[in-house]
């Protein structure tokens, strides 16, 4: 995942959806360039019950 304290990289619509879903973006793996969190990353995370994926997952 990302470095300690580093801000998750996600667009405003992803950030807002995470807030609406009550999910912590810091726990979501970003599959996009530069580790950007895409909507489908958020979907996958939500489908997994909002659990952090294993490191590197």
């Amino acid at each position: 995942l990302r470095k300690e304290g580093e801000r998750p990289l996600a667009s405003p619509s992803v950030r807002r959806r995470a807030l609406d879903l009550g999910l912590d973006l810091r726990l979501v793996h970003g599959s996009g360039p530069a580790g950007r969190i895409a909507h489908h990353d958020l979907d996958a995370f939500a489908a997994g019950g909002g659990q952090a994926q294993a490191a590197g997952g």
């Binding site: 667009s11 405003p12 619509s13 807002r16 909507h39």
Partner: protein
């Protein structure tokens, strides 16, 4: 005949050709470029740049004339004059600087430039009779066609004398009292409006029922209103039959089968541009064509191996930035990279007054493609910056998918909207949704706030309307 060999040979030094050559040179590809006229092509010499220079000067003169009549800002001047010969010299100075710059960039990239007209022998051989020096045969591994386009002539009114092409209109010998513009596409309107601002009586004749017929009606409405307000006379649904010095342009109203004449000292024929495919041996390659232009695939490959084509010679949209992007794409492929020309969007800008920008799909196009979409427009009349610029006409419109709010297109009409094209293009390429733009902080006060508000309006959350 002297023979030389190169890896890439580019025919045409317009934005397509020169960018391809620069990028190939940067990537270490041995590259030659042949240009018969002037580096920079249509764009720098007789297109984008000189037209925008003339438009800028015309706007400055119109402001001066308005101020002479007394302005709401409290500014007043007397006796505004324009020396059009000086305007043309100023414009020529810009062209010279830019074309000189292109030469320097090509040199810096190690590209060998040959000045002369290329004749295609076969897909790997081109001959040139340079303006200076002996004839040359160039053998290449890759041939790139970037020969551009030329203005379409009307058989009833060939270019010359009083009948202007856009090229003539950009270097006028005089300011006519009356100008008839044939064709209300973007080139005809840009120049027609500029001439009106220069004080000329301008009449526009267009065969379609609308101005800018390739744009949707809602978008062109503010342009139509501005044309009318400026005193430009429009004859829509009309075709031109010919010209004589005594009566002027012979026009027929097609629906009413009425004939009339429009007296004019000069006539600008701006009825389109044709891909430049003839007169230099291209036929001998027997390339697949698509109508009038060379057919290409998503790699900018023609039907013949290692023969590529970019820019206006490959058809619509005939725009300089498309030609440049294609040029880059081909250069990188020849340098061994895997590339495709598949942008999400190619912006198109009309530098009319008001300006028009279209990026991606219009609401009509999206619906025609069977997409369930939403659209919303935010008017500049509700934008503070527009008020302070005396530019409250027009709007920004956004089109998005209804299901996931993915943005499909942006359109804008208004003074100065050309510079919003950067944000439009970037948001399309980044796959932005309405929420992304609506929840990005846009600087106050700017016209760009209308971009954010249009996105918010599509979401039912507009703040300032």
């Amino acid at each position: 005949m002297k023979e030389v060999t190169t890896k890439l040979l580019v025919i045409g030094g317009g934005p397509g050709g020169y960018v391809a050559a620069i990028r190939a040179g940067q990537l270490g590809v041995p590259t030659m470029l042949v240009e018969g006229a002037s580096l920079g092509g249509t764009c720098l010499n007789i297109g984008c740049i000189p037209s925008k220079a003339l438009i800028h000067a015309a706007e400055a003169f119109e402001r001066a004339r308005h101020q002479a009549a007394g302005s709401p800002l409290g500014i007043r001047v007397a006796d505004p004059q324009i020396d059009i010969a000086q305007t043309v010299r100023w414009k020529d100075g810009i062209v010279t600087r830019l074309t000189g710059g292109v030469g320097a960039l090509l040199r810096k990239a190690g590209v060998q430039v040959v000045k002369g007209w290329a004749q295609v022998e076969d897909g790997k051989t081109v001959t040139v009779k340079p303006h200076e020096g002996e004839p040359l045969r160039i053998r290449c591994e890759h041939l790139l066609l970037a020969t551009g386009s030329t203005p379409v002539e009307l058989p009833s009114m060939p270019f010359g004398g009083a009948i202007w092409s856009s090229t003539d209109a950009l270097s006028p010998d005089l300011l006519p009292k009356r100008l008839v513009v044939v064709g209300a596409g973007y080139i005809g309107l840009e120049l027609g409006i500029a001439y009106r601002k220069l004080g000329v009586e301008v009449t526009v004749v267009e065969a379609a029922q609308r101005v800018l017929p390739s744009y949707d009606e809602e978008l062109t409405q503010p342009v139509l209103e501005a044309l009318r307000k400026s005193g430009i006379v429009l004859h829509l649904g009309c075709s031109v039959q010919g010209w004589d010095a005594e009566h002027g342009v012979h026009v027929r109203n097609d629906a009413r089968a009425e004939d009339f004449a429009l007296p004019a000292e000069r006539v600008l024929v701006a009825v389109g541009r044709r891909p430049h495919t003839a007169g230099f041996g291209l036929e001998s390659l027997q390339l697949d064509m698509a109508g009038r232009h060379v057919a290409i695939d998503m790699h900018c490959r023609t039907s013949m191996r290692n023969v590529w084509a970019i820019g206006d010679v490959t058809g619509e949209p005939m725009l300089a930035h498309r030609a440049m992007a294609q040029g880059e794409c081909v250069a990188e492929q020849i340098a061994g990279r895997n590339r495709r020309f598949e942008p999400m969007a190619i912006p198109a800008v009309c530098f009319t007054d008001p300006e028009v920008v279209v990026v991606g799909k219009t609401p009509g196009e999206a619906r025609a493609a069977g997409i369930d979409c939403i659209d919303a427009a935010f008017p500049f009349a509700a934008n503070g910056r527009a008020m302070t610029l005396e530019a409250t006409g027009g709007f920004v419109r956004v089109v998005a998918r209804k299901d996931n709010h993915l943005i499909l297109g942006w359109q804008a009409v208004g003074q100065g909207v050309a510079e919003l094209a950067a944000a439009f293009g970037q948001s399309m390429e980044m796959g932005a949704r309405l929420e992304d733009v609506g929840h990005t902080i846009h600087a106050h006060p700017t016209l760009g706030e209308a971009v954010q508000e249009a996105a918010l309006k599509a979401l039912g959350q507009a703040l300032h309307i």
